[in-house]
Symmetry: C2
């Protein structure tokens, strides 16, 4: 299968993140994408293509206009306010606090359009996030055009981004943008299967009231793990979307046998739904040595994950999400893709 990659994505190069009351070295860093790209080239896995530019329209099909305008204009506002360096929000409109009117002040705006304190927003974030969305869109177009599968080597990742707020290292929801693109390109039904260690809260929320996009997520139980506030088994969709959302929260320490049982259950739901296309939110932070995660998948087990996904028998768009054990990320990621091709 073809890989889509843009080096423009590397421009988003955060130095720090805030967690546990400290500035720590950022973990969502450019080398994550570079090592995957290097592994693809080194193994001769397939062609690596640059993305085409799709403009803002397919992004605006998923994200709110005011949110897009905020991201686009952020750096100018930030520097006009006399600030420099990476921006972190520090106050959020929870519960009785209002989302409207939208504040004018840059610190109010940062909180209005985010849900965490750990996601640095910098000068190059917007251009990189757009390139990441274009990467997903180009892979989706390859599959819409007849390719059995394509791999969008996206960065920054996307699945934690909601329609109008960022967080969890994510700004534009690449998988959601790709799924919507596939619908607009003629697919009647699209399934998004998220196998990242963390719940795909943004993707779920974006499609929660829709029956045309089935969202399924395997992830660490949010009672114990980020994003904490979404991803429970009782979230099954609402309105027209009732029955078209399925979460598989798993215990910390989950290994491949337990993970693959949940995967089988999720793929059964996919089969019942009978989508035209499958989008896989491909996080590799289920890996046993991931520095911020607590599942126990081994490198060779990612081959089995890929093979199992192939058995769904669907045109498949892989969209890269998390994975922070950088030294093993190339091997693990390409193992999924090779497992799919070799199945």
């Amino acid at each position: 299968m073809k890989t889509v990659f843009s080096p423009v994505q590397l421009a988003h190069d955060p130095k720090h993140e805030i967690s546990d009351g400290m500035l720590k070295p950022a973990v969502e860093i450019p080398s994550r994408a570079e090592i995957v790209r290097a592994r693809i080239l080194e193994t001769g896995f397939g062609d690596v293509l640059p993305p085409d530019e799709f403009g803002l329209e397919p992004i605006a099909r998923v994200h709110a206009g005011d949110y897009i305008a905020f991201l686009e204009g952020f750096w100018t506002r930030w520097t006009n306010a006399g600030r420099s360096g990476e921006a972190f929000p520090f106050v959020w409109p929870v519960r009785e606090l209002r989302t409207k009117p939208v504040p004018d002040h840059i610190d109010g705006l940062l909180g209005r359009y985010s849900f965490d304190a750990g996601t640095p927003l910098g000068e190059e974030t917007w251009v990189a996030a757009r390139a990441s969305a274009d990467t997903a869109l180009t892979a989706a177009r390859l599959v819409a055009g007849g390719d059995r599968a394509a791999f969008a080597l996206c960065r920054p990742p996307g699945h934690h981004a909601h329609a109008d707020f960022y967080g969890g290292y994510c700004f534009l929801n690449n998988a959601a943008i790709a799924a919507q693109y596939l619908r607009d390109a003629g697919a009647d039904r699209v399934a998004v299967l998220d196998v990242d260690y963390h719940h795909g809260n943004g993707t779920q929320a974006i499609f929660y009231d829709r029956a045309d996009v089935l969202f399924l997520s395997l992830h660490a139980d949010p009672i114990e793990e980020f994003p904490y506030f979404l991803g429970h088994a009782d979230e099954t969709g609402e309105g027209a979307g009732e029955g078209f959302n399925a979460n598989f929260p798993l215990a910390l320490g989950t290994d491949w046998p337990a993970f693959s049982r949940a995967l089988d259950a999720a793929l059964e739901r996919v089969a019942e739904f009978s989508p035209d296309t499958l989008v896989v939110s491909l996080g590799l932070d289920t890996y046993e040595r991931d520095p911020i995660s607590k599942f126990r998948l081994k490198s060779e087990e990612f081959l089995a994950l890929g093979a199992r996904l192939e058995k769904a028998g669907l045109p498949t768009v892989f969209v890269m999400e998390g994975g922070y054990a950088v030294d093993a990320l190339g091997v693990n990621c390409v193992n999924v893709l090779s497992g799919f091709e070799g199945a």
Copy 2:
């Protein structure tokens, strides 16, 4: 008038806060209370009494039981999780994200029960916050018992704390707890007037649907200033509380003439309401040299503020809130109180 003060409040001694992506020296520090106490003693303003202990019951009249239990048990959980030092949350349940089920993980709990990243929670926070609430309750009891006025020298402050979340350096809403105590002690109507530079979002939210407690706040326009997401003029109460909330957002740079016009308007509303008792959330961060604020009140103008409050002719409980120009805080605070007494 008598001052109530407990040195236990000094135990909450934060070292840092997070703002603008950096750990900065904390501004809500013990010396804030010490300098006010010193000024009261030095000027012979009146007796300084320790608070009585009221237990959890009057706190639970205002705050949710699970929130109280979280604050009370926090340090044990934090240290059991292998953590130490000050705690800062980093992810919040905004919009589609859920407040229930409540996470088990300490980082999820911190976000579940807060709304900002800048309020350090430490080993002694709970004991200090309780002493601060007892301080407000003791002053309220003095006034309920016939004193014309009393001053609760509270710290940490309270007016940003909602029924079930903390933030803005506030954990327990001392003014709300005092107002509720006065109601329970027999007052039919209580007015809470907040003259801190920042909107009293927590107090507003706690009484928003009630007609028995009128809340009024003079503050920097939240479009431009913390807390950003509450404090607009169109917030007039809801349900039975419709018409019993009044905000006076003021422009950055507001000086005494403009501030006092808004104060007159607010006190007109108080007079129409005809309460049995007035609670004043007394922030001194309207001062021209406050390091985090942008109003322009001069030290001598706080005398006029106190005199104007006296003219309302009501039994009055002063509850200390913000004010971060520590060197001038004692003078400014005692000026308000002396202005009231000397009017």
